[in-house]
């Protein structure tokens, strides 16, 4: 299993292929469409991360020392970015997730989506992913 850093590097290299923002966003949209997401039945308020604009749902499970995330959003670009976050953090050990700096988002030019004023739930989603990891870490 690749480490978080290795996975981040993989994503950065993928995004280096795009010359213009349009291609990049088309790719993010494709990622969003491909994300398995969460069953309608699990889109409950208790899994909801509130953003002003887009809503994000996040679930986490602890299996064999690793945290497995599944997530969803009602906005497609947000879903695409979620797919990247899940890809990088899912299946990792809680301690590594807590320590991850997630700077790859900045490196691939999507930082604007993580600003608090965008209020699309992504910033809080990362916080919540880490909180889950922290909780699993402390349980064990």
């Amino acid at each position: 299993m690749a480490t978080i850093k290795e996975k981040e590097q993989e994503v950065i290299e993928e995004f280096e292929l795009f010359d213009d923002w349009m291609d990049k966003y088309n790719y993010i949209i494709d990622l969003g469409k491909a994300l398995p997401g969460i069953d309608e039945s699990n889109r409950e308020d208790k899994y909801l991360i509130k953003g002003c604009q887009a809503r994000v749902w996040l679930l986490a499970e602890y299996k064999d020392g690793k945290v497995m995330y599944s997530a969803d959003s009602d906005a497609l670009i947000t879903r695409g970015i979620i797919a990247l976050l899940v890809r990088v953090l899912s299946g990792q050990a809680p301690a590594d997730i807590v320590e991850a700096d997630m700077s790859f988002i900045d490196r691939i030019g999507l930082k604007e989506h993580l600003s608090a004023t965008r209020s699309n739930g992504l910033l809080n989603m990362i916080k919540q992913m880490k909180l889950y990891a922290l909780a699993f870490q402390q349980k064990n």
């Binding site: 923002w21 088309n26 604009q53 497609l76 670009i77 989506h113």
Partner: protein, 406 residues
Amino acid sequence: MPIHTDTLRKAFPILETKVNGRPLVYFDNAATTQKPVSVLERLRNYYERENSNIHRGAHFLSQQATDAYEGASKTMQSFINAKHTHEVIFTRGTTESINLVAHSFCSKFVKAGDEILISAMEHHSNIVPWQIACREKQAELKVIPMDEQGELCMDAYRDMLGEKSRLVAITHVSNALGTVNPVKEMVGLAHEKNIPVMIDGAQATPHMAVDVQELDCDFYCFSGHKMYGPMGVGVLYGKEAWLNQMPPYQSGGEMIREVGFKKTTYNELPFKFEAGTPNVADVLGMETAIQFILKLGHQHISAHENDLLHYATGQLKQLDNIRFVGTAAQRTSVVSFLFEDIHPYDTGTILDKLGIAVRTGHHCAQPIMDFYQIPGTVRISLAVYNTRREIDVCMDALTRVREMFG
């Protein structure tokens, strides 16, 4: 003179901005308008040549600044046709004006069991101050309903006005829907039962002439920055009779007559409500913005903006799966919409990349989005410097959005 945008736009250097290599299309005017050079020069000149604290007299600059400030009060008075200059109180903006009324009016005139009426299409700024005041006084906040078009239900309103109603606080123009409410009629109905009315005019003053004596409203609030003026300044108009009875909102310098450690007496209007050093520069900038509007002429501004509104609506209609939010018969300067199959956040992100500044989301009016059961809208809000050409650019961008997500 009819509006010539080619000439007019030269007064707004910011409109030449490039975003991602494309010319900026600024369609977020309901959030704040851009400022003409005359306003910027007024601010600069004040600090460069006139700056001094006012109302403390005793020297040349102070007297000059005081005269300028008082001149601006007169300009505001005539702009809204208030009866007296001292009925114009300068605030930080509409939000502070509303908070002032909610605090001072309610502390004096509202008691447990009373009712305050607001409407279903209010901005958060005209909801939350009343919620807080009502909670403090154990009064009830009642909401005048609206229909699917985004028009207030006048029959329901009539029925709601009653013995317990202490104040009606409604918006003149909805920031999220563009609806122009029949405020004159609403004031008349409330006054039949001796209920005063406060109007949130933040979205009205940039687009239409407002005459507070003709409306006969008891309070009227508006902001400088939404009408080509600086941020951080606005006006509360209040009828003298009400303002004289209301206690001060904030306390400090300027608002006092005599201060002793045992007792302080308050100054007369408008000083009673203008505690501390006033925001002189921005008040003067707002005055210049008003002169800018008056020079263009309200009838010409309306004609130009209505033309754009109709053109934009007609063009947008051609797009697949578009849903307009707010289709009231009387609207101004705002087109709110979403694609049924595309989240407004996605639409807004791509428009931004293409240099088009729109607002997406709930526009600080969450109850409206709940009413329509939508996550938000994309809002195009127009100003006098916008053009049909910009609407065409926006149409091309929206067509691209549909190709990407549709």
